[in-house]
Amino acid sequence: MVNTPVIDFHTHVGRWGTSHMDDSPEIFLKLTDAAGVDKSCTNCIFYGDARRGNDIVSRFAREHPDRFLPVAYVTPRYPDEMLPELERAFGELGAKFLKIYPTYYQKPVDDPGYFPIFEWCNDRNKVIMCHSSKVAADDILTLPLSFIPLAKRYSNITWVLGHSGNGMLGQEDAVTAAKECENIVLETCTSYAEHGTIEFLVEGAGEDRVVYGSDAPLMDPRPQLGRIATSDISDEAKRKVLGLNAIRILGLEN
């Protein structure tokens, strides 16, 4: 056993009964304690009303400031609300970065409806994590390669590809995107989890541009963390993926 910072880049709060997802800080912390996670970057992307989701995240972060890092959420379905809510989430609520989920919005990630969000974040050097996936022919809203032109156009943003494209096809494109753009980072959580995924991502994007995520409490953080801990990469690379990279990217204190 080693003691090393562990930052979970990809977690949620909010009830999601259809997926049996609880909404309790106690249950969440019991899971992360068992896994050995120090801090969880937490978003709530389940509502049409982004303000409601961000308020739930803020409650978790206020009650346990040493364990939850708030992550903002806005929806392009309500364009008039986007920029004021970004101001509120990153200002008053202290968000560390923004999460967007085009699959829920049913708008592809390069739809012009997002551009005001991207411009706001680009002007302020923010981090955006976006779901990314390429696992089936109709899975087209967050194709990893579509982040290349976005990362070039909005070059002050650090783009984190949630799930690193999910299955192997998506992983290959995610690595291509990361090689093409230095401001693209890959996040690890997925329920596909093919053998050799972590090794492939670290080899392709470099050990400084892969971050651990779990999707907790939709998924248990222990198997997801175990994917990093048991992978065939160096111990130093594991420590970077588990937390040191997130600390650097988000400007956290180590």
Partner: protein
């Protein structure tokens, strides 16, 4: 700071209940050889693996099962599991081959092999499996849970392992296990929060079986998670190998 085991190996005897061995026709997998499997088992501290042929699922059971036996020849750590197709295979010939090769478990793939899991299709096979205490593996993407429930309730002596149960199937998988006393669950895809503990609490420690779904999933992560549950050594060993060993020996 988080306490993490960066050099993890299973601490108890471990037997992986869900491994596919061989090439796929429609995609590349990062390990498709016996050598790759053994290397991965050694890294994870896995003693034995129960393996089936994906060719037997995707194309032909006879050829796929033969391919499997050729691939694992001389390697006692890999235990063969045969795929059977009740709509195409001759049951008596299949049974004779199992006896001859000392194969102790069977996998069916109703969806891929295009048949409903109903008594009028699989009933005689289920009776034969029960007569020899041979456990049947069913991948959860291969069946309709209502069909499986209604069919298996008429065959209570046939042991059945539901494998690769996905977290999105949590809503029905636990009630299905609870309603059918002679069923078990392999945990490779059951990644719901605290899912292993919930299974142990709801269906019993003796019904929960470690499997990885290698190489479609990594082998070590579910083991790593099991070792972070504060289970007693006895319970950990039951999940990691004891329950599977018992089933393959024809015991409940």
């Amino acid at each position: 700071m988080g306490e993490v085991d960066l050099n993890f190996k299973s601490s108890v005897p471990t037997f992986d209940a869900c491994v596919a061995l061989g090439r796929r026709f429609n995609r590349y997998v990062r390990s498709d050889t016996l050598e790759g499997l053994i290397t991965t088992m050694d890294r994870a501290g896995v003693d034995k693996a129960l393996a089936y042929s994906p060719h037997a699922i995707d194309f032909d059971t006879v050829e796929g099962n033969e391919l499997l036996m050729q691939q694992i020849a001389g390697e006692p750590r890999v235990v063969p599991q045969f795929v059977g197709n009740p709509t195409y295979d001759d049951m008596d010939a299949f049974a004779s081959q199992l006896h001859e090769l000392a194969v102790r478990s069977v996998r069916m793939a109703p969806a891929t092999h295009r048949y409903p899991f109903t008594d009028w299709v699989v009933g005689d096979w289920l009776e034969w499996l029960a007569s020899e205490n041979l456990p049947l593996w069913l991948d959860s993407k291969e069946f309709d849970p209502t069909q499986v429930h209604d069919t298996l309730k008429n065959h209570p002596d046939t042991p059945v392992v539901f494998s690769e149960v996905h977290y999105t199937q949590a809503a029905w998988s636990v009630p299905l296990l609870k309603s059918l006393p002679n069923t078990y669950i392999e945990i490779s895809r059951f990644v719901v929060p605290d899912g292993y503990q919930k299974l142990i609490d709801k269906v019993g420690i003796d019904k929960v079986i470690f499997g990885s779904r290698f190489p479609d999933s990594s082998m070590a992560p579910p083991l790593y998670a099991l070792h972070r549950m504060n289970l007693s050594d006895e319970d950990l060993q039951a999940v990691c190998s004891g329950n599977l060993e018992r089933l393959l020996q024809g015991q409940r």
